[in-house]
Each structure stands twice: as C-alpha cells, then as structure tokens.
Amino acid sequence: MACDAWREKLDAYVDGELPSSEAAAMGKHLRECTDCAADALERVQMKRAVAVAGKRYQPSLALREKVQRSIAGRPRREKAWVWRIVALPAALVMLLSLAVGLYVDREITRRQRVYSELADLHVATLASGSPVDVVSTDRHTVKPWFQGKIPFSFNLPELQGTDFTLAGGRVSYLAQSPGAHLIYRLRQHEISVFIFQDRGEETAVSASGPVSTMSFTVESWTKNGLRYFVVGDVGAQDVERLSKLLRDAG
C-alpha cells in the first residue's frame, strides 16, 4: 500500500526530525490523505499526553539548596554577579507568582500563562521610555552586548533582503531565568523575540505553529537547548517568516 512509505516516516515527522524537503512533501500528503492525517494526529496527541504525564516529580527545596551549595562558590566571572543581584529580587517575585500560578492550574493554562507573561513583557517594554538597552540595527553589536549578562549565547539572522529590521535588545526574565529580549520592526509594528534556556517545566509549550492569544500572535520552538518565543501584533505569516529566519540562523 502506497501509504506504508509515508507511515514509516510519520514518527520522524511528528518528532520534527525529517529533513525540510521531506517534511514539506509529508505535509502535502497529510493534507490529501485523511487516513495518514488521522494517524499523525494520534501520534501527536500521544506525544502531548506523555509530555504532560511525564512532568510529574518536583524536587524538594531542601535538595535544591543542598545541590546548589555543593556546586556554588566555583570560580566565576565577576560580571556574572551583576545580573545575579538584579535577578534575585526579580526571581523571588517570579517564584511567588509561579507558586500561586501552579496551584491555580498546572497544565491547561500553562501555555496561556507563559504567553500572557511574554505579551505583558512585550507591551511593557514598548511602553517604557527606553525599550531597549542596546540600540543597534547591527546583529554583530547586539549579540556580544549580551555576553556576561545571560548564561548562554545565540545567533541572530542576517536581515538584508527582508523587510525586518533589528531595533535592539535588553535582558529579560521568565520564570526566574534571565534571557534575551530582542525587538524587531516590521513596517509600523514591533515584534519581540525572547530567548531563554529551555527549562522544560515552566517554559515548555508545544511548538505547533503560530498561536493567537489576546490579539498577539505567538510562536515558540526549542533549538540547541534554547527556547525561542516570537510575540507581536502582526499576522501569523509575518511571525512565521521571522521565526524561520531565526531558526535558520543557528
């Protein structure tokens, strides 16, 4: 049966492991074949069910402290303390709001919560007098600015030949962890790109294409241990275009 060849690749497809050319062909096939589409849907739902069920155990605070003590005090760059001082109060607030949030609803609204938090950050940043701390349209200026301010590094795309421009960046926090907040311009719109370390638990949301939430379009994915979010009041197509540029930049 002709579909057998497709089915063999269905797992790799839903795991995001098919090369893009094959994935495109698969996408086309799934739009035409209801049997395979139903099969793909079942696999995606199974993945989702395991992802939800698998996040089950929380470590105790005592263990966290014990481990933290055992590895703390190793030589570190002086600069790193700067963001720690800033991060601590922010982290405490985040921790409290997270703890409350976790009680309210663990799974169903988690994605919504992360997205609203990011949407709030996006709006608050644009409303502030100085939305960016490093003002530059040059990715080669913006990227190194983050060095020492956040515990990871990332690549930014070349925008020449596209209608996006980079406005600048700032350090942002999501669920106690520092990350990069970049602002891009498209026509009259501003789009926020957030990059955090992928912590699984708090920041995990299923990456299933752009989602509209409270008049914003959000897209999220993970790559190389980093979790990306693109938030903007532009259409899904524009968000997807910028997301693709970012994905390809790595």
């Binding site: 089915r7 063999e8 797992d11 790799a12 795991d15 995001g16 492991e17 049997d35 139903a38 099969d39 079942e42 696999r43 739902q45 199974m46 993945k47 989702r48 069910a49 395991v50 992802a51 939800v52 069920a53 698998g54 996040k55 089950r56 155990y57 929380q58 470590p59 105790s60 263990l63 966290r64 014990k66 481990v67 933290q68 055992s70 590895i71 703390a72 190793r74 030589p75 570190r76 760059r77 790193a80 799974e107 060095q147 020492g148 515990p151 990871f152 590094s153 990332f154 690549n155 962890s177 370390q197 992928d198 912590r199 699984g200 638990e201 995990a204 993970t222 190389n224 241990g225 790595g250």
Partner: protein
C-alpha cells in the same frame, strides 16, 4: 548538535537550570524520592568532577543526562532493570484510527503515568527524553550511547508498547507488561 554557550560559562550556570528536569527524570527511573535525591546529588558531584573533561561547544544537557543515567544503571535499582536487546525494526504496524485509538487519545494524565510506570526502563526513559525533554534524536543518541537508528527503532517500540498498555487499561484487562 553544538550547544552555543559562552566558553566562560561556569558549571553552576550550565547545570543548575537543569535541576528540575534531572530530578524528574531521576524519579521516573528510580520510582523512589529518596533514591532520586541521591541520584541527582551524585550526578552533580560526578559532573562537577568531570567538568574539565566536558568539551565546550558540545551539548551540556546530553552530557549531564548521560552521567545521571549511567549512575542510575550502576545503582542497585538500576542493575535490576534488565538488560535490553534492540531488535530489528519491525514492519510498521497499520495504525488506522480505530475506536480503541480514539479511546487512547482520551487517556487522562493519571492513566498515562500509570502506563509509563509499568513500562520497562529502556522504553520509559526514551519516551521521557523525547517527549518531556524534547530532545532531538541526536541528543537522545548521546544520552543513551546508542546509534540514531537504534533511537528510532526503540522509540517506535516504546510508543507501540505504550499504546498497548493504554489499550489494556481501557479494556479493563490485566495491567503490567
């Protein structure tokens, strides 16, 4: 897959953000809070000791998960989890959506957790790495120290086993593999 972190990143900066995930994984492997705590602590100690041997630019997450898993395998509980042979990949079973498949789709969180608990360790761990940790096949291959082809076939069998277990639960049949 390169893990583009700062060359100067300290162990703490790399390892601490993974604490919750490592604990969750450890608890799933051991099925016991105390053992999971010991396992996580030992993992951090070993990783810190071996950090100088960690190659910057390679994947830290896969590296530390691998340490945790190897530590588990040499523990008392780990040794009891039976040795495992990867078979040749079977012919892809036809999984046309049946009424059973639709039931599986409605499996609640607790049922799925129960099924995962009952699974053999090699199946449970690969599902957790793939679905919960959202690791790529390449990363999973590093953690489990197996070729990518084996990752794919084991994942296939793990998913099939999970489906079977869930189906049994819906039919009210005997639980356990």
């Amino acid at each position: 897959m390169p893990d583009r972190r700062l060359p100067a990143a300290t162990f703490e900066e790399l390892a601490l953000p993974l604490f919750d995930q490592l604990y969750n994984f450890a608890h799933w492997l051991t099925h016991d809070a105390t053992e999971a705590e010991d396992l996580v602590q030992e993992t951090y100690t070993k990783a810190l000791r071996g950090f100088s041997g960690f190659q910057i630019g390679t994947n830290f997450r896969a590296w530390i998960f691998r340490i945790l898993r190897n530590t588990f395998l040499t523990s008392r509980t780990g040794l009891k989890s039976t040795a495992f042979e990867d078979d040749e990949i079977e012919a892809v079973a036809s999984t046309h959506p049946t009424p059973e498949a639709i039931l599986i789709q409605q499996a609640d969180r607790e049922t799925v957790q129960q099924a995962l608990t009952e699974m053999a360790v090699p199946f449970r761990e690969i599902l957790l790495l793939c679905e919960v940790e959202e690791m790529s096949y390449e990363e999973i291959a590093q953690v489990l120290a197996i070729p990518i082809g084996t990752v794919m076939s084991r994942l296939y069998r793990a998913r099939k086993a999970l489906r079977t277990l869930l189906l049994e639960k819906f039919k009210g049949g005997p639980s356990g593999v």
